[in-house]
Protein backbone atom coordinates (compact mmCIF):
# COMPACT_ATOMS: atom_id res chain seq x y z
CA UNK A 1 0.00 0.00 0.00
CA UNK A 2 2.72 2.46 1.06
CA UNK A 3 4.95 1.30 -1.79
CA UNK A 4 2.21 2.13 -4.32
CA UNK A 5 1.78 5.52 -2.64
CA UNK A 6 5.46 6.43 -2.93
CA UNK A 7 5.80 4.98 -6.45
CA UNK A 8 2.87 7.19 -7.53
CA UNK A 9 4.51 10.26 -5.96
CA UNK A 10 7.83 9.55 -7.72
CA UNK A 11 6.13 9.01 -11.08
CA UNK A 12 4.02 12.13 -10.62
CA UNK A 13 7.14 14.23 -9.94
CA UNK A 14 8.86 12.75 -12.99
CA UNK A 15 5.87 13.34 -15.30
CA UNK A 16 5.66 16.98 -14.11
CA UNK A 17 9.39 17.33 -14.85
CA UNK A 18 8.90 15.72 -18.26
CA UNK A 19 6.07 18.10 -19.17
CA UNK A 20 8.30 21.03 -18.12
CA UNK A 21 11.11 19.71 -20.33
CA UNK A 22 8.73 19.39 -23.27
CA UNK A 23 8.03 23.10 -23.06
CA UNK A 24 5.10 25.42 -22.57
CA UNK A 25 3.41 24.52 -25.83
CA UNK A 26 2.86 21.02 -24.55
CA UNK A 27 0.57 22.35 -21.83
CA UNK A 28 -1.50 24.46 -24.23
CA UNK A 29 -2.15 23.67 -27.85
CA UNK A 30 -0.92 20.27 -28.91
CA UNK A 31 0.40 19.24 -32.28
CA UNK A 32 -0.55 15.69 -33.36
CA UNK A 33 2.82 14.18 -32.33
CA UNK A 34 2.65 15.98 -28.97
CA UNK A 35 -0.88 14.76 -28.30
CA UNK A 36 0.21 11.16 -28.96
CA UNK A 37 3.14 11.55 -26.57
CA UNK A 38 0.97 13.15 -23.86
CA UNK A 39 -1.52 10.27 -24.04
CA UNK A 40 1.22 7.64 -24.04
CA UNK A 41 3.08 9.20 -21.10
CA UNK A 42 -0.09 9.33 -19.00
CA UNK A 43 -0.68 5.64 -19.71
CA UNK A 44 2.94 4.61 -19.17
CA UNK A 45 3.13 6.41 -15.83
CA UNK A 46 -0.04 4.85 -14.47
CA UNK A 47 0.97 1.22 -15.08
CA UNK A 48 4.14 1.02 -12.89
CA UNK A 49 2.47 3.25 -10.28
CA UNK A 50 -0.11 0.55 -9.68
CA UNK A 51 1.82 -2.64 -10.36
CA UNK A 52 4.60 -3.06 -7.81
CA UNK A 53 5.79 -6.12 -9.72
CA UNK A 54 7.22 -3.83 -12.41
CA UNK A 55 10.54 -2.22 -11.44
CA UNK A 56 10.14 1.55 -11.40
CA UNK A 57 13.11 1.97 -13.74
CA UNK A 58 11.36 -0.15 -16.37
CA UNK A 59 8.40 2.22 -16.18
CA UNK A 60 10.63 5.26 -16.52
CA UNK A 61 12.63 4.11 -19.55
CA UNK A 62 9.71 4.42 -22.04
CA UNK A 63 8.79 7.84 -20.59
CA UNK A 64 12.33 9.11 -21.14
CA UNK A 65 12.37 7.55 -24.63
CA UNK A 66 9.21 9.52 -25.49
CA UNK A 67 10.66 12.75 -24.10
CA UNK A 68 13.75 12.19 -26.24
CA UNK A 69 11.52 11.61 -29.30
CA UNK A 70 9.43 14.69 -28.56
CA UNK A 71 12.43 16.98 -28.06
CA UNK A 72 14.07 15.64 -31.23
CA UNK A 73 10.92 16.04 -33.34
CA UNK A 74 10.39 19.57 -31.98
CA UNK A 75 13.99 20.47 -32.82
CA UNK A 76 13.80 19.01 -36.33
CA UNK A 77 10.45 20.74 -36.91
CA UNK A 78 12.08 24.01 -35.95
CA UNK A 79 14.92 23.51 -38.41
CA UNK A 80 13.14 21.98 -41.41
CA UNK A 81 9.95 23.26 -43.03
CA UNK A 82 9.50 20.00 -44.91
CA UNK A 83 9.84 17.93 -41.73
CA UNK A 84 7.37 20.21 -39.94
CA UNK A 85 4.81 19.74 -42.72
CA UNK A 86 5.33 15.98 -42.56
CA UNK A 87 4.84 15.74 -38.79
CA UNK A 88 2.40 18.55 -38.05
CA UNK A 89 0.59 18.82 -41.39
CA UNK A 90 -0.16 22.23 -42.91
CA UNK A 91 -2.86 24.80 -42.21
CA UNK A 92 -6.01 24.54 -44.37
CA UNK A 93 -8.19 27.38 -45.59
CA UNK A 94 -11.85 26.70 -44.76
CA UNK A 95 -13.34 30.08 -45.77
CA UNK A 96 -11.87 32.43 -48.36
CA UNK A 97 -13.46 35.82 -49.06
CA UNK A 98 -16.72 34.69 -47.47
CA UNK A 99 -16.87 31.48 -49.49
CA UNK A 100 -16.72 28.11 -47.71
CA UNK A 101 -14.09 25.84 -49.25
CA UNK A 102 -16.28 22.74 -49.38
CA UNK A 103 -13.56 20.50 -50.80
CA UNK A 104 -11.24 21.27 -47.85
CA UNK A 105 -14.09 20.81 -45.40
CA UNK A 106 -14.80 17.39 -46.85
CA UNK A 107 -11.12 16.43 -46.89
CA UNK A 108 -10.75 17.36 -43.21
CA UNK A 109 -14.07 15.68 -42.33
CA UNK A 110 -15.34 18.83 -40.60
CA UNK A 111 -19.08 19.31 -40.70
CA UNK A 112 -20.79 22.65 -41.16
CA UNK A 113 -22.10 22.71 -37.59
CA UNK A 114 -18.56 22.46 -36.20
CA UNK A 115 -17.40 25.27 -38.46
CA UNK A 116 -20.31 27.53 -37.49
CA UNK A 117 -19.73 26.74 -33.81
CA UNK A 118 -16.07 27.72 -34.11
CA UNK A 119 -17.02 30.95 -35.91
CA UNK A 120 -19.55 31.84 -33.22
CA UNK A 121 -16.91 31.25 -30.54
CA UNK A 122 -14.84 33.91 -32.37
CA UNK A 123 -17.82 36.32 -32.30
CA UNK A 124 -18.47 35.95 -36.02
CA UNK A 125 -22.12 35.42 -36.95
CA UNK A 126 -22.02 35.77 -40.75
CA UNK A 127 -19.83 33.73 -43.05
CA UNK A 128 -19.90 36.69 -45.45
CA UNK A 129 -17.94 38.76 -42.91
CA UNK A 130 -14.99 36.36 -43.00
CA UNK A 131 -12.00 37.20 -45.15
CA UNK A 132 -10.15 34.02 -44.21
CA UNK A 133 -10.80 31.15 -41.80
CA UNK A 134 -7.79 28.90 -41.45
CA UNK A 135 -7.69 25.62 -39.59
CA UNK A 136 -4.28 25.56 -37.89
CA UNK A 137 -2.23 22.38 -37.43
CA UNK A 138 -3.04 22.32 -33.70
CA UNK A 139 -6.79 22.24 -34.47
CA UNK A 140 -7.50 25.91 -33.72
CA UNK A 141 -9.50 27.98 -36.19
CA UNK A 142 -7.97 31.38 -36.97
CA UNK A 143 -10.57 33.83 -38.26
CA UNK A 144 -9.74 37.08 -40.09
CA UNK A 145 -12.73 39.33 -40.64
CA UNK A 146 -13.13 41.53 -43.70
CA UNK A 147 -11.61 45.01 -43.35
CA UNK A 148 -14.93 46.83 -42.88
CA UNK A 149 -16.03 44.38 -40.16
CA UNK A 150 -12.94 44.64 -38.01
CA UNK A 151 -12.95 46.50 -34.70
CA UNK A 152 -11.57 50.04 -34.97
CA UNK A 153 -8.14 50.51 -33.40
CA UNK A 154 -6.72 53.68 -31.82
CA UNK A 155 -4.63 54.10 -34.98
CA UNK A 156 -7.82 54.03 -37.12
CA UNK A 157 -9.22 56.81 -34.93
CA UNK A 158 -6.03 58.85 -35.18
CA UNK A 159 -5.33 58.54 -31.43
CA UNK A 160 -2.10 57.68 -29.69
CA UNK A 161 -2.08 55.03 -26.99
CA UNK A 162 -0.01 55.22 -23.84
CA UNK A 163 2.80 52.70 -23.52
CA UNK A 164 2.26 50.39 -20.58
CA UNK A 165 4.67 48.65 -18.24
CA UNK A 166 4.37 45.09 -16.94
CA UNK A 167 2.52 44.92 -13.60
CA UNK A 168 4.88 43.91 -10.79
CA UNK A 169 3.73 41.98 -7.71
CA UNK A 170 5.27 43.38 -4.50
CA UNK A 171 3.36 41.59 -1.71
CA UNK A 172 1.53 38.32 -2.07
CA UNK A 173 -0.50 36.97 0.85
CA UNK A 174 1.61 38.93 3.35
CA UNK A 175 4.95 37.93 1.80
CA UNK A 176 7.19 40.60 0.26
CA UNK A 177 8.54 39.69 -3.19
CA UNK A 178 12.09 40.96 -2.65
CA UNK A 179 13.24 40.03 -6.16
CA UNK A 180 10.43 42.05 -7.78
CA UNK A 181 11.09 44.94 -5.41
CA UNK A 182 14.73 45.08 -6.53
CA UNK A 183 13.67 44.78 -10.19
CA UNK A 184 11.36 47.79 -9.77
CA UNK A 185 14.21 49.72 -8.08
CA UNK A 186 12.21 50.28 -4.90
CA UNK A 187 13.15 50.17 -1.23
CA UNK A 188 11.45 47.92 1.28
CA UNK A 189 11.08 50.89 3.67
CA UNK A 190 9.11 52.77 0.98
CA UNK A 191 6.78 49.82 0.47
CA UNK A 192 6.20 49.34 4.20
CA UNK A 193 5.48 53.04 4.68
CA UNK A 194 2.88 52.90 1.87
CA UNK A 195 1.29 49.87 3.50
CA UNK A 196 1.23 51.69 6.85
CA UNK A 197 -0.47 54.68 5.20
CA UNK A 198 -3.38 52.34 4.42
CA UNK A 199 -3.62 51.45 8.11
CA UNK A 200 -2.23 47.95 7.53
CA UNK A 201 0.87 45.96 8.35
CA UNK A 202 2.64 43.65 5.90
CA UNK A 203 0.82 40.55 7.12
CA UNK A 204 -2.54 42.24 6.58
CA UNK A 205 -1.89 42.74 2.85
CA UNK A 206 -3.42 40.17 0.53
CA UNK A 207 -1.98 41.57 -2.70
CA UNK A 208 0.10 44.66 -3.50
CA UNK A 209 1.37 45.45 -6.97
CA UNK A 210 2.57 48.19 -9.27
CA UNK A 211 0.01 48.55 -12.05
CA UNK A 212 0.79 49.20 -15.72
CA UNK A 213 1.02 52.94 -15.00
CA UNK A 214 3.51 52.35 -12.15
CA UNK A 215 1.00 53.18 -9.38
CA UNK A 216 0.98 51.09 -6.20
CA UNK A 217 -2.27 49.24 -5.53
CA UNK A 218 -2.86 47.54 -2.18
CA UNK A 219 -5.58 44.99 -1.46
CA UNK A 220 -6.11 44.14 2.23
CA UNK A 221 -6.85 40.62 3.44
CA UNK A 222 -10.53 39.95 4.12
CA UNK A 223 -11.33 38.65 7.59
CA UNK A 224 -12.49 35.01 7.49
CA UNK A 225 -16.24 34.81 7.60
CA UNK A 226 -17.73 33.38 10.75
CA UNK A 227 -19.49 30.05 10.20
Amino acid sequence: MLNVFFRSLILYAIVVLVVRVMGKRQVGELQPFELVIAIMIAELASIPADDVGIPLVKGLVPIFALVFAQVTISFLSLKSERFRALVCGSPSILIENGVIQQKNLEQLRINLNDLLEQLRSKDVANIDDVEFAILETNGNLSVFQKGDKKNATLEDLGLQGKSEAIPITLIMDGHIMHKNLRKAGLEISWLLSKVKEQGLDRRGVFFAYLDTQGDLKIIAKQKERAQ
Binding site: M1, N3, F5, I10, V52, V57
Partner: protein, 126 residues
Protein backbone atom coordinates in the same frame (compact mmCIF):
# COMPACT_ATOMS: atom_id res chain seq x y z
CA UNK B 1 -6.78 25.86 4.15
CA UNK B 2 -9.73 23.75 5.33
CA UNK B 3 -9.36 21.47 2.28
CA UNK B 4 -5.63 21.16 2.91
CA UNK B 5 -6.23 20.15 6.55
CA UNK B 6 -8.85 17.61 5.42
CA UNK B 7 -6.38 16.10 2.94
CA UNK B 8 -3.70 16.05 5.65
CA UNK B 9 -6.05 14.22 8.05
CA UNK B 10 -6.95 11.75 5.27
CA UNK B 11 -3.23 11.23 4.66
CA UNK B 12 -2.56 10.51 8.35
CA UNK B 13 -5.46 8.01 8.36
CA UNK B 14 -4.09 6.44 5.18
CA UNK B 15 -0.60 6.07 6.72
CA UNK B 16 -2.17 4.52 9.81
CA UNK B 17 -4.11 2.02 7.69
CA UNK B 18 -1.06 1.28 5.56
CA UNK B 19 1.02 0.59 8.68
CA UNK B 20 -1.73 -1.67 10.06
CA UNK B 21 -1.97 -3.44 6.67
CA UNK B 22 1.75 -4.16 6.63
CA UNK B 23 1.93 -5.33 10.27
CA UNK B 24 -1.25 -7.43 9.94
CA UNK B 25 0.09 -9.22 6.87
CA UNK B 26 3.46 -9.80 8.55
CA UNK B 27 1.81 -11.16 11.69
CA UNK B 28 -0.68 -13.46 9.96
CA UNK B 29 1.80 -14.71 7.37
CA UNK B 30 4.15 -15.61 10.24
CA UNK B 31 1.33 -17.57 11.91
CA UNK B 32 0.69 -19.48 8.68
CA UNK B 33 4.41 -20.08 8.14
CA UNK B 34 4.76 -21.37 11.72
CA UNK B 35 1.87 -23.76 11.20
CA UNK B 36 3.38 -24.90 7.91
CA UNK B 37 6.69 -25.55 9.73
CA UNK B 38 4.83 -27.60 12.38
CA UNK B 39 3.21 -29.60 9.59
CA UNK B 40 6.57 -30.12 7.89
CA UNK B 41 8.08 -31.54 11.09
CA UNK B 42 5.09 -33.85 11.60
CA UNK B 43 5.39 -35.18 8.05
CA UNK B 44 9.17 -35.68 8.31
CA UNK B 45 8.57 -37.69 11.49
CA UNK B 46 5.73 -39.46 9.64
CA UNK B 47 3.31 -38.77 12.51
CA UNK B 48 0.34 -38.52 10.17
CA UNK B 49 -2.22 -38.01 12.93
CA UNK B 50 -0.41 -34.83 13.99
CA UNK B 51 -0.22 -33.84 10.35
CA UNK B 52 -3.98 -34.31 9.93
CA UNK B 53 -4.66 -32.10 12.96
CA UNK B 54 -2.21 -29.44 11.81
CA UNK B 55 -3.59 -29.22 8.27
CA UNK B 56 -7.08 -28.76 9.72
CA UNK B 57 -5.61 -25.97 11.87
CA UNK B 58 -3.98 -24.38 8.83
CA UNK B 59 -7.24 -24.47 6.88
CA UNK B 60 -9.12 -22.92 9.79
CA UNK B 61 -6.47 -20.22 10.28
CA UNK B 62 -6.42 -19.44 6.56
CA UNK B 63 -10.23 -19.30 6.50
CA UNK B 64 -10.16 -16.64 9.25
CA UNK B 65 -7.41 -14.50 7.68
CA UNK B 66 -8.50 -14.90 4.07
CA UNK B 67 -11.50 -12.57 4.52
CA UNK B 68 -9.21 -9.67 5.43
CA UNK B 69 -6.40 -10.67 3.06
CA UNK B 70 -8.92 -10.39 0.22
CA UNK B 71 -9.19 -6.66 0.99
CA UNK B 72 -5.46 -6.13 1.13
CA UNK B 73 -3.66 -8.24 -1.47
CA UNK B 74 -3.94 -9.31 -5.08
CA UNK B 75 -6.70 -11.91 -5.51
CA UNK B 76 -4.44 -14.00 -7.77
CA UNK B 77 -2.05 -14.46 -4.85
CA UNK B 78 -4.97 -15.50 -2.61
CA UNK B 79 -6.00 -18.08 -5.22
CA UNK B 80 -2.43 -19.42 -5.29
CA UNK B 81 -2.45 -19.88 -1.51
CA UNK B 82 -5.92 -21.48 -1.62
CA UNK B 83 -4.73 -23.92 -4.28
CA UNK B 84 -1.56 -24.90 -2.45
CA UNK B 85 -3.40 -25.49 0.86
CA UNK B 86 -5.87 -27.80 -0.92
CA UNK B 87 -2.94 -29.64 -2.50
CA UNK B 88 -1.17 -30.06 0.86
CA UNK B 89 -4.42 -31.31 2.41
CA UNK B 90 -4.80 -33.88 -0.35
CA UNK B 91 -1.15 -35.01 -0.14
CA UNK B 92 -1.44 -35.44 3.64
CA UNK B 93 -4.60 -37.54 3.12
CA UNK B 94 -2.73 -39.69 0.57
CA UNK B 95 0.30 -39.84 2.86
CA UNK B 96 2.50 -38.57 -0.01
CA UNK B 97 5.49 -37.40 1.99
CA UNK B 98 7.70 -35.89 -0.78
CA UNK B 99 4.94 -34.03 -2.58
CA UNK B 100 3.46 -32.72 0.70
CA UNK B 101 6.88 -31.38 1.78
CA UNK B 102 7.38 -29.71 -1.58
CA UNK B 103 3.95 -28.04 -1.39
CA UNK B 104 4.58 -26.88 2.19
CA UNK B 105 7.80 -25.19 1.03
CA UNK B 106 5.80 -23.43 -1.68
CA UNK B 107 3.14 -22.29 0.82
CA UNK B 108 5.79 -20.86 3.16
CA UNK B 109 7.42 -19.01 0.28
CA UNK B 110 4.07 -17.60 -0.94
CA UNK B 111 2.92 -16.21 2.42
CA UNK B 112 6.32 -14.79 3.35
CA UNK B 113 6.82 -13.23 -0.08
CA UNK B 114 3.40 -11.60 0.09
CA UNK B 115 4.13 -10.03 3.47
CA UNK B 116 7.62 -8.93 2.34
CA UNK B 117 6.15 -7.19 -0.72
CA UNK B 118 3.99 -4.99 1.53
CA UNK B 119 6.86 -3.78 3.72
CA UNK B 120 7.89 -0.19 2.95
CA UNK B 121 11.44 -0.33 1.64
CA UNK B 122 13.53 1.23 -1.11
CA UNK B 123 13.85 -2.18 -2.78
CA UNK B 124 10.04 -2.47 -2.97
CA UNK B 125 9.56 1.11 -4.18
CA UNK B 126 12.09 0.82 -6.99
Amino acid sequence: MRTFISVLIALVIFFGLAWWNSSYLTKTSKQLADQAEKLRKAIIEESWDDADTTIIGIRRLWGQHKKIWLLLVDHDDIDDIDEIIYKIDEMVNLREKEQALSDIAELRFLVQDLADKEVLSLANIF
